[in-house]
Amino acid sequence: MSRLDVRKTYKLYINGEFPRSESGRTYPALDSDGEVLARVALASRKDLREAVRAARTAQAKWAERSGYNRGQILYRIAEIMEDRRATFEEQLEDGGATAVRARTEVANSIDRMVWYAGWADKFSQVFGNLNPVAGPFFNISAPEPTGVVGVIAPRAPSLLGLVSRLAPVIVSGNAAVVLASETQPMPAITFAEVLESSDVPPGVVNVLTGSQSELAPWLADHMDVNAIDLAGADDHLRLRIEQGAVHNVKRLIGTDGNLDGQSPYLIAAFTETKTVWHPKGL
């Protein structure tokens, strides 16, 4: 007699836990043939608020950790991703990728995480300055994390896009609320499970599955979100986010069409430069 498999319930990832949507809503995630893979949580506005609150609570402590420590945690994410390669590849293949492409995307995603891990204790040196002012002052500029960042993950590549947009956000000490790929949410959920077992403090990354066009406007209007990466948003949604961002002068990044590249300037884009003056004298 064949064994009945144990199916997984796909849930949200908020504050280090895996709740269902408070709304009780789900939607079917489809494979590339239109077959239902599973039902996943359809996050609500309240879930989004909970996620922002968790991110805000976690952010200051995350930023206070040393770059060395954050770097090790990002590297740990890569280690656990390596463990979960088979699951990621299977999910990407469900989304329509060939076996070769799926393998490449997973490998690149892991390597990308390692690349950013190494930046954690270096970007301040590259983007900071001792400023030679004309007077007896010590004057230094250094980047600090912007705060709570919303990430509209690209629909595809669903894993590499997510990792490429999220890693530069969190490496400097920001906390993130991710709106996962709406059409291919499975890799994002698996990725959340990776985060949960990678020493990433609860709340530093929160992953919501659901309708990006429903959730993103609330994210854009939220007064306690400091920046949004809108690389994954279509033109219509982008305009709505730009309008919402006005209320609390959110920083908007990700308008250059780059979904899965890597650059230290992307880290810098989610930082604020702070300049400190102090007189010199006896």
Binding site: A245, N248, T273
Partner: protein, 492 residues
């Protein structure tokens, strides 16, 4: 020693007498009427409209300036585009550099004239326009001149390319300095500029435009169009403007951002502030008093980074406030052209009304007001240096930017409380902290959410030092290597 003995009663204000020492205005020659500076020459506006600019210290008109309409804006943007396409955008950096160096030297050469003009049109004390504004204007051009041919070293891995035509809108509080902060980096990186100075302070920008032409700057590289909000709006919304740089109020900054949504234009905003100035009980008190005075009364408090919320540690609060009151009473308020004047004229009747309104609200909300008993000139727009004690965090004078010589004083007990109160604002432009303890300075500097932190000093500026806000005080940096990025293609 009992605490009471430490608290000295305030001594009567000293009877300082100063002989008038008025800077001559002979060095300035004004035209009756100024056109728009477009394509290298002054041109009559197609709008055919003019408006007067007055001296806020006398309320007398200085000159008439053109009000640029939509067609004028279009003409200016076209001139900037042609200059970008034909000469400036592709000119070798070392040649651009020499133009900017030349401009810096010419500003130095004419700095007294420009300082007097700045004071006449804007109302700031001559000692500030002479010793702060103009030296910084020249320094800013000199600093960015040197970057023009070194951009590939500024940002490793990025290919430095200009954006195109920059539309820049600047405020009335530091007319020439804001011009320098905007124009110098834009030109150094190979962009061309259409600049709109504030409607109450257009004269120094127009004079600067003529100076730039005299320096040989190719026609169209810098265009100066005068006007009010409508002109600024036409400029930032012009479809052929690639980059918008705005310094001004948070409210207008939000309007601009909203109107630019979906256009793909690159934007930098330097908006309002409500800076916390934190005084610990171990601070060098006399120096801190001077820092606080400079922090809020520099330029009549028309400063986006003004230290307008003072937090004094409870143990020294009363003594500090007494000293502050005595110091307030020695400030010389009056004729901005007098070399002894500390606090000059409020920039406009409109701004004076805003300040008066918020001060009335402060009193109505229950804060206690102190103003020295100084005589204000009969004409012109003036406001007494003002401080409020007994302010609570929810008072509007503790929340809203007053943009005038008005200080709101609160107290705190622990460093944690100071941080919590200091950061309790949607703004994040600047902050100040005074303490003798080095580790505490760094602890505070780490936690103050502000783009600039002045420790044991305040209101210091330098072209090499990046300036700009956190949170609703805007984004992007002006000054330093960082200031170049706002005018280059890159990650966006």
């Amino acid at each position: 020693m009992a605490k009471a003995e430490l608290l000295q009663a305030p001594s009567p204000p000293l009877d300082w007498k100063y002989a008038p020492s008025r800077e001559s205005t002979d060095i300035v020659s004004l035209n009756e009427r100024y056109g728009l500076f477009i394509g290298g020459a002054f041109r009559a506006p197609l709008s055919k409209k003019y408006f007067p600019t007055i001296n806020p210290a006398t309320e007398k008109p200085l000159a008439e300036v053109a009000e640029a309409g939509e067609k004028d804006v279009n003409r200016a943007v076209k001139a900037a585009r042609s200059a970008y396409d034909d000469s400036w955008g592709s000119m070798p950096g070392k040649e651009r550099a020499k133009y900017l160096f030349r401009i810096a030297r010419m500003v130095q050469e004419r700095s007294r004239e420009l300082a007097v003009l700045e004071t006449m049109d804007g109302g700031k004390p001559i000692k500030e326009s002479r010793d702060v504004d103009l030296p910084l204007v020249a320094a800013h051009f000199f600093y960015y001149a040197g970057w023009a041919d070194k951009l590939e070293y500024a940002f490793p891995g990025l290919d430095p390319k200009p954006l195109g035509v920059a539309g820049q809108v600047i405020p009335w509080n530091f007319p020439m300095m804001m011009l320098a902060w905007k124009v110098a980096p834009a030109l150094a990186t190979g962009n061309t500029v259409v600049l709109k100075p504030a409607e109450t302070t257009p004269l120094s920008a127009l004079t600067f435009a003529a100076l730039a032409a005299e320096a040989g700057l190719p026609p169209g590289v810098l265009n100066v169009i005068t006007g009010a909000g409508a002109t600024g709006s036409s400029l930032v919304n012009h479809p052929d403007v690639d980059k918008v740089a705005f310094t001004g109020s948070t409210a207008v900054g939000k309007l601009i951002r909203n109107s630019l949504a979906g256009t793909g234009k690159k934007v930098t905003l330097e908006l309002g502030g409500k800076a916390a100035h934190v005084i610990f009980d171990d601070a060098p008190i006399d120096q801190a008093i001077e820092g606080v005075i400079n922090g809020i009364f520099f330029n009549q408090g028309h400063v986006c980074c003004a230290g307008s919320r003072l937090f004094v540690q409870e143990s020294i609060h009363d003594r500090f406030v007494d000293k502050l009151k005595r110091r307030l009473s020695t400030l010389r308020v009056g004729d901005p052209l007098d070399k002894n004047t500390d606090v000059g004229a409020i920039n406009s009747a409109e701004q004076l009304a805003k300040i008066s309104e918020l001060v009335e609200i402060g009193r109505a909300e229950g804060a206690e007001m102190f103003q020295p008993d100084c005589v204000l000139p009969r004409n012109g727009f003036f406001f007494r240096p003002t401080l409020f004690t007994g302010v609570s965090q929810s008072h509007r004078i503790a929340q809203e930017e007053i943009f005038g010589p008005v200080l709101s004083i609160m107290s705190f007990r622990t460093p944690e409380e100071a941080i919590e109160k200091a950061n309790n604002t949607p703004y994040g432009l600047s902050a100040g902290v005074w303490t003798s303890k080095g580790s505490r300075i760094l602890w505070m500097a780490d936690r103050l959410q502000a783009g600039v932190v002045w420790a044991n000093t305040y209101n210091k500026f330098d072209p090499a030092s990046p300036f700009g806000g956190y949170k609703e005080s805007g984004f992007g940096r002006e000054g330093g290597r960082h200031g170049l990025l706002a005018y280059l293609q890159g990650i966006s």
